[in-house]
Amino acid sequence: MPQVRMRVNGREVSGEVEPRTLLVEFLREHLGLTGTHVGCDTSQCGCCVVHVDGRSVKSCTLLAVQCDGAEVLTIEGLARNGELHPLQRAFHECHGLQCGFCTPGMIMSALELLQRNPSPSEGEVRAWLEGNLCRCTGYHNIVRAILRAAEEMREAPQPAA
């Protein structure tokens, strides 16, 4: 079986995987990083979004072997020294989640938006979330949370996650 190596949340990891192993399976089942969820498994819902080499991707539609040598960031890699990332805090404070199933993907998706565009309009946030589905909240508080986090991150820029 092929051997894969990658940096996940700053840590070097490796493992033997079947070529058909999805990145999300490698993260959840091999590394025990179960913060990344599988909602649809058909590339629609965005619950599985993580960053690979700085870009948000659906980890259910990517093979682990395609990420050999890559830098991967998951929801578990956001908090620093026990302090929540501003996006995590804003989702909490703005009531941006109910069941929380979509939340890791929402946050990882929003993180790329704020890295590209630190001052998005409400419309830009909504358009960016095209690939993230939420069955609970009606999106309104998710959008508020992202705008709140953007404001906070502009005032106190984060070290690159």
Partner: protein
Amino acid sequence: MYAFDYHRPQSLDEAARLLRERPEAKLLAGGHTLLPTLKQRLAQPSDLVDLGAIAELRGIREEGNGLTIGAATPHGEVETSELVRRLIPALAELAGEIGDPQVRNRGTLGGSIANNDPAADWPAGVVGCGAVVRTTRREIAADDFFTGMCETALEPDEIITAVHFPRPKRAGYAKFPNPASRYAVVGVFVAETDDGVRVAVTGAGPCVFRLTALEQALTADFTPNAVDGIEVDAAELNADIHASADYRAHLVKVMAKRAIQKALG
């Protein structure tokens, strides 16, 4: 997914050799069509040959009077490219309307046109601009490349390397997206090129096609009014749960008007 062997060649030659040696192998680009297909067990390739490590397949550059986009360039790179926005902004817009940001981070131009989904956006841009598809063997004119529903002129071991888009004088793309997938229920690309007006329609029929009646009308009068004088025959168009053939025929005219309006700026 059925099991397969995985290869990550560093060069185009090595990728071509792998395809020749393994007749049941398939190329893997962004994987956003192929991996969902494999998950549903609708295909069973013996090997996947990943194009992701071949640097020469990726990138956007100015060439002659136009743009050359590497086959493995993701849609998101086309969307945000300053060069594309300056030379053929309609293509940046087309790329930016595909799927969602995560699909655009992975899905590629080459994968999209090789797959030739009837509802894909890129075939409209490629045919609309009168582009040339470059492969490991030859150059194929856009009009000869898309041959039918999910069919192209590609040979089994032929790899698309890039697409060259001559710069139109003006161009516009408008689509009516399926609200769930963002694929085109109907998409129309209109361009005034050095060789005349071209109108390419995707989503409406089994394969992208040119609307020659509108091309002629626009040659006489390049305004949205030109659409009023033409008929779109619903007989050849798709009908499914998303839209009837009559509705698609109607949408072709509405999207054409919007595309012309965009081309006029």
